[in-house]
Each structure stands twice: as structure tokens, then as C-alpha cells.
């Protein structure tokens, strides 16, 4: 690492998630000498027998407990559902040492943060959605440039989608798409019901279809099409799913790109045209500093907020916070009870249901429908208010006909939605991020009303809602808005090109700038914005 601290890089990118990987690719391919700094925790547990499909492993695998429970039984989450509970043992490393290295205190906000290699991108659900022009403008993004960036990102990562009823909310105008995934038997049944009642459901401004996914259905370069092994929560066979490592591993082959893990960046400082980026080596605690002409922060909004506030030594100062309110419902597809379902499927969302309240793609809520597959019964049996033995019997019967409907709502800034950095904590950085996220009464009512509409449509589709689970604010894993875009050069805002106000050479390439957070999955737009920010950095240079 010593030699990296002595080099003046053209660009330093902090973070290895979807945003970090996209902006690093753009600047590196343009010829910049690029350093990616990352905490970079990896999964150090080997899982045997993970090249097989889920059904085969479940039927015959003798070492399943390591895969499904974890070598240290870390897959056994006891207690109420919260952010991170849903992570399989193979993904638990995503939240390794978070409490210690990214301390956060809150009574109302429980986000999923990660210091892992690939960040939260390692557990991304792969759903790809273009924001509409109205949504982009509300978010503070320039529609014309983001729309071009969407195509660039789509070409890089590979997306499968066949235009259907939800095209306006997913991939309008995007070319070179692969065919949609084949959905499972339950989802085919739901689609058939939708097509029978299509005009009635569409009159209520609901649209159902197969989501666009960053999952290959045809081979692309050295990556293979999905084999429908239903192991997507545990591994990435054939690299069929795009994860940030797919891009970063290719970048590592380039001579002008260096990846440095084991570093937690805490602050930056500008002196003339040089940005010094400081932090410490996680394994030793030693301080370390790197230098570059341009800094791109792409480490998720709360981590970026910590770095920025610390760098300006601004404590007890509130930054706004956006997070999609999220709940999910366990629904019973009663017509599928006792029926055989083919085990060949992906573990991703099978269907997406959009509610476009004014039919103008400006105020859209979204539900992702999943079969309860590739997860074991014990996770859901504990939620049933019966004795375990009878609950097991019940769920063994019901689970093949269970559909999980996860509903995301859009979000706007609010009085009780903020983060701030407080000094004086006894930890590595002597500070702690304080967060508050509460909805106003009008917002709660709007969400409840909208969810009732979703449940009505679920019933029309044959899905009977059994139980609603609210895992707490932050569980959506979609966050934005801490450094909102502004054309004024006010502190703690971003210029439209991503430059952090009051700095010359510091840019933010994650969702910190968004002034509005649509309900559609944010990751594809994050990546497009990251690519654009990197282009702006190149122009700025």
C-alpha cells in the first residue's frame, strides 16, 4: 500500500458498489490513472456444494447446514424482522463490523449499510427501472443526459427484458436487451389472471409485468446465461447476475487502475488542485492518506454524509434524508395450494406491479412479487403465532403457494427526515451519525391508502394477503438526498454536475444529490448518474 500513497492519481473513487464501479469504469476507460479505495470485506467462509441447484441441494445435500444456516449459524436470526435479517449466510459478511466502523444511532431509522467489496450491490435484487422524465426532474437530474447514460449502463451490465405492460416504468427506449426471464409456475398463474382482468386492473392505474433484471438470459462475453438454479441468494453461478465485481475485476486487469481494500476513508482535504483523502487501515488502525486531482465519493449516502460532514468539521448539522417507505405482505395464491411447482426458477422478483396514481408516470408506487423459494421454512415458521410443530405443518402446505409482495413508496424530504454527525463518541472516528426518519400524518395516510389499493389488486390477481410486515424505516435499502442538488453554491449541496459545493475537485457519484426518491428501484439510476458524474469529472479536468 505504501507505493499507492506516493502516487498522485487522476481520480480516486471511494466505494466499490454499483455507483463506484460505474464511475471507476468511465474514468479508467477514458485513460485516467484511477485508484479505488474500499473497506472491501469479503466472504471468507467457503460454502460446499454450491454449483448445484437449490432443489438438488435440498433433496440430497449432506452439508446443507453450512450453506443455509452458516458455519457459525449466522443464518439463524432470532427476534423481530429488521434490516439485514433477510441476508443469507453467504451474504452476512455484507454487514460485517458495521456497528463498530459506521456507528449510527436512531430510534426510528434502521438502514442497511455495508463495508463489503461490492457494497450493497452484492445483494442487489437486480431490478432495473428507468425513472420517467418527470421523476428525474424532481430528483434534480437532467433527463436528456441520464437517458443516454441509461443505455451506456445497460450495454455494460446486460439486462433481460421483453417489452410488456410495464415497459413505461422499466426500459422504454433501451436497446440491446436480452429476453425476459421465464417466470415460475405461480407467477405464470398470476399473469394469466392479470391478462383476463387486464382492462379492469388498468382502469385502476395498475400495471403488471415481468421486471427488467440485470440477469443474463443469453451468454454475454465471458458471462453465462442463468441456469434457473434458484441459488441467486447464495452465489452467482456463471456470473449471470451483474454485480459490481463483474466490472471491477475487469478494471483490475488494466494498468491504469488499482484497487485498494482494507481502507476506511474518513475525510478529505483540498489544497490547491490536489485532494488528500484520509482514513485508516482497518486491519492495523494506522492512518493513511492518498492523493488525487479529483475525488469521487460513491460509498452510499450515509457514508458519504459522514465523510463530508467530518471534512468540513460540521457537527450537529442536519442533512436531509430520503428513504423509500417499505412493507411486505405474505399472500396466499389459494388456487395453487397442493400443486406441483417446477423447481427451475430464479430467486429474483418474478413480477412487478406498478401503481401510477395519475397515469402520468409521475407518482408511482411499486410492488415486487416473489415466490418464497430458495429460503428455508424456519425463517417464516417463526413468524406464525402458533406452536412450532403445527406452524411447520401449516407452512409446509402453504409455502409453495405463498407470494411475497414487497411494496415501495416514493419519498420526498420532510421535517423529521435527517442525519447529523455528533462528536464525542468513543470509537475510531470519535463521532457517530444520528438519524431520524419519521413520516408526517398526511404521508402515513397516503401510504396506508395506497397499500389498501395494492391489496385489492393482489386479491384480484388471486393473491390473498395473510400478514403485513413492516420491517422499519431503512429496510428498503434505497437511500438518497443527504446533499441535494442545487444550482446555488450552498454548503452541503451538489452542483448539477455532481461537484460538491464549496469544493473544486470533490464529486459525489452516489444518490446523495437526489431531491426526490421514486419508488422504482434506484440502482440502475444510481449507476447512470455515477457514469454521468464521471463524465463531468473528465470534462471538468
Amino acid at each position: 500500500m505504501v507505493h499507492l500513497t506516493e502516487i498522485l492519481f487522476d481520480c480516486i473513487v471511494v466505494g466499490s458498489g454499483p455507483s463506484g464501479s460505474m464511475c471507476a469504469q468511465t474514468v479508467t476507460e477514458a485513460g485516467c490513472k484511477t485508484l479505488m479505495l474500499d473497506a472491501g470485506f469479503t466472504n471468507d467462509q467457503s460454502s460446499p456444494d454450491t454449483l448445484s441447484d437449490f432443489h438438488s441441494i435440498r433433496t440430497n445435500g449432506t452439508k446443507q447446514s453450512a450453506i443455509f444456516l452458516g458455519n457459525n449459524f449466522e443464518g439463524l436470526d432470532w427476534g423481530p424482522t429488521q434490516a439485514g435479517s433477510q441476508l443469507t449466510p453467504a451474504r452476512k459478511y455484507l454487514i460485517h463490523r458495521i456497528k463498530e466502523l459506521l456507528p449510527l444511532e436512531s430510534k426510528s431509522y434502521f438502514p442497511l449499510e455495508s463495508l463489503a467489496y461490492e457494497g450493497l450491490g452484492a445483494a442487489w435484487g437486480l431490478g432495473c427501472y428507468k425513472f420517467s422524465n418527470t421523476e428525474l426532474e424532481k430528483a434534480g437530474l437532467k433527463a436528456s443526459s441520464i437517458n443516454k447514460a441509461y443505455q451506456v449502463v445497460a450495454n455494460r451490465i446486460g439486462i433481460s427484458y421483453t417489452p410488456d405492460d410495464i415497459e413505461p416504468y422499466t426500459m422504454p427506449g433501451i436497446e440491446h436487451l436480452q429476453p425476459s426471464i421465464s417466470v415460475d409456475d405461480n407467477s405464470r398463474f398470476i399473469l394469466q389472471r392479470y391478462h383476463k382482468r387486464q382492462s379492469e386492473i388498468r382502469k385502476r392505474n395498475f400495471h403488471l409485468g415481468i421486471p427488467a433484471l440485470a440477469l443474463l438470459t443469453a451468454d454475454k462475453n465471458n458471462r453465462k446465461a442463468t441456469t434457473y438454479s434458484d441459488m441467486d441468494f447464495y452465489n452467482n453461478q456463471g456470473l449471470s447476475a451483474w454485480r459490481p465485481s463483474v466490472s471491477i475485476e475487469e478494471l483490475k486487469k488494466k494498468s491504469n487502475f488499482a484497487y485498494q481494500p482494507d481502507v476506511l476513508i474518513t475525510s478529505f482535504e483540498e489544497a490547491g488542485d490536489i485532494v488528500s483523502v484520509s482514513g485508516f487501515i482497518i486491519s492495523t488502525g494506522e492512518p493513511v492518506t492518498f492523493k488525487a486531482k479529483k475525488l469521487l465519493l460513491a460509498c452510499n449516502v450515509t457514508s458519504t454524509a459522514r465523510i463530508v460532514l467530518r471534512s468540513f468539521k460540521k457537527y450537529d448539522h442536519n442533512l436531509p434524508l430520503l428513504c423509500n417507505p417499505y412493507s411486505y405482505a405474505t399472500c396466499l395464491l389459494w388456487n395453487r395450494l397442493g400443486k406441483y411447482s417446477s423447481p427451475e426458477r430464479t430467486s429474483t422478483a418474478q413480477l412487478s406491479l406498478f401503481h401510477d396514481s395519475n397515469n402520468n408516470n409521475a407518482d408511482v408506487a411499486m410492488a415486487s412479487l416473489y415466490s418464497y423459494s430458495s429460503l428455508l421454512l424456519y425463517r417464516v415458521v417463526k413468524e406464525v403465532p402458533l406452536n412450532f410443530k403445527d406452524a411447520l405443518k401449516l407452512m409446509q402446505y402453504l409455502i409453495p403457494a405463498i407470494v411475497i409482495g414487497g411494496i415501495h413508496h416514493p419519498d420526498e424530504p420532510g421535517k423529521f427526515k435527517y442525519v447529523c454527525l455528533k462528536q464525542g463518541a468513543a470509537n475510531f472516528t470519535n463521532d457517530i451519525l444520528h438519524a431520524r426518519y419519521e413520516l408526517e400524518t398526511s404521508e402515513k395516510k397516503a401510504i396506508e391508502k395506497r397499500e389498501r389499493l395494492f391489496y385489492q389488486i393482489f386479491r384480484k390477481l388471486g393473491c390473498m394477503p395473510l400478514k403485513k410486515i413492516q420491517p422499519g424505516f431503512g429496510a428498503s435499502a434505497h437511500y438518497a438526498g443527504t446533499l441535494p442538488f442545487s444550482i446555488k453554491d450552498e454548503p452541503f449541496t451538489l452542483q448539477p454536475n455532481g461537484r460538491l459545493s464549496s469544493t473544486k475537485n470533490v464529486f459525489v457519484a452516489d444518490g446523495s444529490g437526489f431531491n426526490y426518491l421514486p419508488a422504482k428501484g434506484i440502482t440502475f439510476t444510481l449507476m447512470a448518474n455515477a457514469h454521468n458524474t464521471a463524465l463531468n469529472v473528465l470534462q471538468h479536468a
Partner: protein, 127 residues
């Protein structure tokens, strides 16, 4: 108390079968990695269930309704998860093709489950 004894009781309760050596080993390991923190009252309840195994289903039922994250239930939960990963118990966990009439069998079981909850609640007053 030996974890093997607990494992036998819990496995029999959940599946009407004895635990395999693998299950015994995993349960022992799991309790070391995931200690079950209990106060004296909770320990007393657990010891009662071990001594009077007939009561376990009623206690589990009552707690499932009133205190689902009780330490007694945590032990059962751990055993349940371990059993699910063993092919020897697949018929208790993997989906089975069923006729439409099976729904009545399940409904009967659910009525049974509610009765157990009521009995369990009464039992808890006395333990």
C-alpha cells in the same frame, strides 16, 4: 443439562423422530455459538418442559401467541432449522403434492393448534 437430552426431546416433538448424530452435533454447536440468555423464570419454565415433555407443545403454543421470542422457543427454533437441513427429515419440510382435500386436514390441525394455545395459556399461569 446435556444438550443431547434436549435434542432428543425437541427432535421428537417436532418430527416424531430421534435426532441423527449429525443433528446432535449441530445442536450442540449451535447452542455454543448462539447462547440462549434466560432469566431464572425462563430457566424454570424450560426445565419444566424438559421434565414434563407432554407440556412442551402447550407451552410452545401459548408463547407463540403471547411471547414469540421467548428463550424456550429459541431452542425449538434452533432445532427446527437444523432438522430442516438434514435430508433424513425432508418429508417434514419439502413441499409435497397434495389433493384438494388436504386443506381440511390442515384446518383440523389449526383448530387443534388453537386449542393447544388456550391450554398452554392456562398452564403458564401455574408454572
Amino acid at each position: 443439562m446435556s444438550t443431547n437430552k434436549e435434542a432428543y426431546i425437541l427432535s421428537s416433538y417436532l418430527t416424531n423422530r430421534q435426532p441423527t448424530p449429525e443433528v446432535l452435533m449441530l445442536y450442540d454447536q449451535a447452542l455454543k455459538k448462539l447462547p440462549v440468555d434466560s432469566n431464572s423464570k425462563e430457566i424454570k419454565l424450560w426445565e419444566f418442559c424438559i421434565k414434563h415433555t407432554w407440556a412442551l407443545k402447550f407451552v410452545d403454543a401459548a408463547l407463540g401467541f403471547t411471547d414469540p421470542y421467548h428463550p424456550v422457543r429459541k431452542r425449538i427454533f434452533i432445532m427446527l432449522a437444523i432438522l430442516e437441513t438434514q435430508p433424513a427429515y425432508n418429508d417434514c419440510f419439502l413441499p409435497q403434492k397434495r389433493s384438494f382435500l388436504y386443506i381440511f386436514y390442515v384446518l383440523f390441525y389449526m383448530v387443534n393448534a388453537v386449542v393447544k394455545t388456550v391450554i398452554g395459556k392456562v398452564l403458564l399461569w401455574f408454572i
